[in-house]
Amino acid sequence: MLNKSWIYVVLTSLFELVWVYGFNTASEWWHWVLILCVIPFDLHFLAKACENLPTGTVYAIFAAAGTVGTALMDVFLFDRQLTTGKILFMIVIVAGVVGLKLSDEQQTEGVTN
């Protein structure tokens, strides 16, 4: 069951990047139909992943994957430059998000839901 949950983590991160990419490239009405179909799947897989894994861990990976993925998109798909300074502050933000999410996890440990 645990392995399946990790597949959900990967899927939610991928679908997240698909709709973010879509937001930046959509030009026809049917592009938007596709994007609006992807978002519920993204949220569904996120919820499924959280069923068997700690929410803090799932969300921390999700946020980090989204940030790294969009940075790669900027550089490789949209030809926009990322300076060292920008990359550094992005890492700082992700570190804060991961810190918050993981500290929530430690607190709820041992507490019955």
């Binding site: 949220l43 933000i93 998000v97």
Partner: protein, 104 residues
């Protein structure tokens, strides 16, 4: 303008998360509207922000403010822990957001 939209997207995200919390406890129409309206507004403003800013910058700031906002709200209104580690993480996010703003 882009930064304004990101801020609004993050605010709506927090509303959506709050709505989800309410909706999972009591499935009423009102709670459903807060949940879906919050998320919908969040996506709409994120789209607007993408028109002005680099996607990676917009996305990182959106995730950072959204998460920090939700935690702050829970600390203030739901009496969640104000541990040093959580405070430190919040400050780290703020440093990251301010830094990106300064460079963009």
């Amino acid at each position: 303008m882009g930064w304004m939209y990101i801020l609004l997207a993050a605010v709506f995200e927090v509303i959506g998360v709050l709505g989800l919390r309410l909706f999972s406890h009591a499935r009423t129409v009102k709670n459903g509207v807060i949940y879906l309206g919050g998320l919908g507004g969040s996506f709409a403003f994120l789209y607007m922000a993408f028109l002005y800013l680099q996607i990676s910058v917009a996305y990182a700031v959106f995730i950072g403010i959204g998460t920090a906002g939700a935690v702050l709200l829970n600390m203030i209104f739901f009496g969640e822990s104000k541990s040093y580690f959580r405070m430190l993480s919040l400050i780290v996010i703020i440093i990251g957001v301010v830094g990106l703003k300064a460079l963009s």
